[in-house]
Each structure stands twice: as C-alpha cells, then as structure tokens.
C-alpha cells in the first residue's frame, strides 16, 4: 500500500528496491514520511526527475516495514533525522544523507556520485 502522497514512484518492497538498484546504474531513493523535513526533498526530486532522465528517482515510506533495508543500512548508522536519502551507483550505496537537503546539496551529490550531469 502506498503511504506517500508524491508524484514520485513509491517503492513498496525490499525486493522491488533491489530490482530497481540492479536494473539502473543511478538511483536516488528518499525514505521518509509526509513531514516538514521530507517534503522539500521530494519536491527537489520531482523537479530533477524531469531534467535527469539518466537517474531513477523513487521514494519509500519510512514506516513501511520493508523499508528496514534502508533504516538498518550500515550507511545510515547514527542517522537521527528524516528523511534518509540513499544514492545507489551500479548496485551499491554510493552516498547517504540524513535530514533535509536543498536543491544545491542534492545536485551536488548527484553530480559527484553519478559522474557528470546525466540526462
């Protein structure tokens, strides 16, 4: 069941996440709630989704039990601020951030981790 009201694709299972990561070289997944720190990140992703076709953008509900795969990821150890945002490059976690991020911060990570401005 989808829990997030965004225009982004919502991943509902760990299997689906694994499939997306394995089938796409560049994936950004924001794991959060419909809260004040998460919404701005979804907003940024919706904007970027139109511009960067070489990157797969998706969200996952933090309270979805299946999201344990992100909540408990080693890269998220010590994270205490929503959302947890994961960047996957060639099937592996390339970067992870905790709490709100603005457009400049997100694009900076995309440019660095996904090599050049894709898309």
């Amino acid at each position: 069941m989808k829990l997030l009201q965004t225009n982004l694709h919502e991943i509902e299972t760990a299997v689906e996440l694994e499939k997306m990561i394995s089938e796409n070289a560049n994936v950004m997944v924001c794991c959060g709630r419909m809260g004040p720190m998460c919404l701005p990140v979804y907003d940024v992703m919706e904007e970027l989704e139109e511009e960067r076709s070489g990157i797969k953008f998706a969200v996952m509900a933090f309270d979805n039990p299946e999201a344990a795969v992100i909540r408990n990821a080693p890269e998220c150890r010590g994270f205490m601020g929503l959302p947890f945002t994961m960047y996957y490059k060639d099937g592996k976690v390339a970067h992870a951030t905790s709490s709100i991020q603005n457009m400049q911060q997100v694009t900076s990570i995309l440019d660095k981790q996904f090599a050049a401005k894709i898309g």
């Binding site: 701005p40 601020g81 603005n102």
Partner: protein, 306 residues
C-alpha cells in the same frame, strides 16, 4: 523576445501562493519563482488548527491545496530556483537565475518569507541529522528514552520541548535570558512537566561527538563559565529571520532586514509590492500572510490598470 509577465511573485509560501491565486484568477499572466520548498513555513508546521473555514489540517496539505489552486487558475510556478540578481526599477522588472535564465514582468510581489535561524557555532552543520534537528515532530522518535537539549525560549521551543517528553527521558531547555518569550500557557505547560529541566541565561557554544552528537558546550552568560553537557540530541528553535539578503539595496528595509511596506503592501519602488514574513510587522501567521498576499495582488492589478 522573452515573455513579459504581468506579475512576478518571488516566493511560494502562504503570501506568495495567495498572491498567485488572486493575480492569475484576475487573468493576469503570473509567474511564481521559488527558491525553497513550496509552502514556506506552512510546510514546517505539523498541524494548522486555526485557519478559518478549514478543520485542523497538516501544514503541507494546506500548502498543497494553495499550490493546486494557483495552478488551476493558470499561474506558472517554478520552484527550487536560485535567484542571482534583481532589477526592480523601471517599468519592466527583471530577475536573473543562477542557471542563466531570466524573467521579466511589469510588477513584482516579494514574498520570500523567512528561514529558521541557526546558531552558527562549531559542529552545527556536521551533526545535522546525526543529533541536531529542527523538527520534533519529524525526529522525536529517534530519541526515545534518550536525553535531549532544546535551544530557545519562545512558543516553538517550549511547545516542542513538551512534545519531545513523549519520547525523551529528559529534556533540558537552554535559553539565553532569565525569562521566556513564550505565551504564559506554554511556559506553564513546560515548567509543570517533570521531564523538563532548565538552564537559563546560557547559550550553546559548540557541538561535539564521534560520528554522532554526544556533547554540547554551554556558556553561562552572567559568569562566562563554560560547562559540557552530555546529550543524545539537540533541537534548535531560535526563531526565524527574513529571507531578504539578496534584496538589500533594492527596496527599503528596517534594521531587522524586514521590507518596509505601506498599508497597500507597496514597497519603496513603483510596481513592487511585498507580503508575508519578509515585511516589517508584528504578527506572523498564515492568515496574516494570506491577507497581505491578497492586498499585494489586488494592488498589482490596480497598478497595471493605471
């Protein structure tokens, strides 16, 4: 040649979206440019219970409704842009963006809103998301059974401190004055809560930890004595500042960098209006921002007619 909009609105909080609704519904070609998240401070508010005619609702839902309303009347909305320069004098106003694009209009309504103040002390950026938070509703449950610090003495600080007692085992409020600025009921609720402790006339000087926040340094202002306090998290609620830095030297502002307007929301420049949290005023509410956005849009329409 580039389109010249009738109205260009800078900012998409309650004031900007309302101005967008009114201007576009009046059949004026309207563009909203927004640097941050659409909805402004509304999005940062968990629940809005006192907006007349609307039962208690999530801030983001009210913001989203306003956004959809503006779009439904034909308003163009571009968010997450970065504005590098303004040319507001003359009959045609121009705004340039970091990505090279520029937009022109006959009138401008400035509604850049405000942003949460940060403490600007060592470690603040480093521990954001790993111990430092600006939203108790969002991150409170990460601190279940833990000890946290709340910085501030206004309504937000005290109300959020009380909310945090639902999770944390101990909440220590650090405030720079000997008294609180919050309303009496908020102070009473906080002081009557056995989980809340107070360190008054003190300010934080730094955040320290190994990977995650573990300790803050606190200075007692009257004596200058500094002490370390172990903590699992710190929530910062020290108010908001107007988002007007890039407008300095353009329109008249007061000492707090708030834009000075008259009762018709006119600034010191012809055809340029301002509304919302960026203007010099006493009360900052969604309702006041909505009212000012309305006045500014109607003023812009009148300016165009004349």
């Amino acid at each position: 040649m580039d389109e010249v909009y009738d109205v260009m609105i800078i900012g998409a909080g309650a004031a900007g979206l309302t101005a967008g609704i009114y201007a576009s519904r009046a059949k004026l070609s309207t563009l909203i440019l927004n640097e941050g998240a659409i909805g402004g401070q509304m999005v940062l508010t968990d629940e809005i219970a006192n907006y007349p005619g609307v039962p208690a609702t999530k801030g983001y839902m009210l913001a989203n409704t306003m956004k959809q309303q503006a779009k439904s009347f034909g308003c163009t909305l571009k968010s997450n842009v970065r504005i590098t320069s303004y040319h507001l004098e003359g009959k045609i106003k121009q705004v340039k963006l970091e990505d090279g694009r520029s937009f022109q209009s006959k009138t401008v309504i400035l509604t850049p809103g405000g942003k949460p103040r940060s403490l600007n002390i060592p470690g603040e950026e480093q521990f954001k998301g790993t111990g430092i938070s600006y939203c108790a509703t969002c991150d409170g449950d990460f601190f279940t059974g833990k000890e946290v610090v709340v910085v501030g003495g206004g309504n937000s600080a005290l109300e959020e401190a009380v909310a945090l007692t639902n999770y944390a085992s101990k909440v220590t409020i650090v405030h720079q004055f000997a008294h609180f600025q919050a309303f009496k009921h908020a102070v009473e609720e906080a002081t009557n809560n056995p989980k809340i402790h107070f360190i008054m006339e003190s300010e934080l000087r730094g955040f320290y930890g190994n990977g995650v926040l573990q300790q803050v340094e606190i200075e007692h202002l009257p004596t200058g004595q500094r002490t370390a306090l172990k903590t699992d998290g710190t929530f910062i609620f020290v108010g908001y500042q107007p988002n007007t830095g890039s407008l300095k030297g353009q329109v008249n502002m007061n000492e707090q960098n708030e834009i000075v307007v008259d009762a018709a929301m006119k600034t010191s420049i012809d055809g340029v209006f301002a509304a919302g949290d960026c203007i010099a005023k006493k009360y900052r509410q969604v309702t006041t921002a909505v009212a000012e956005g309305t006045i500014a849009a109607l003023g812009a329409a009148e300016y165009l007619r004349n």
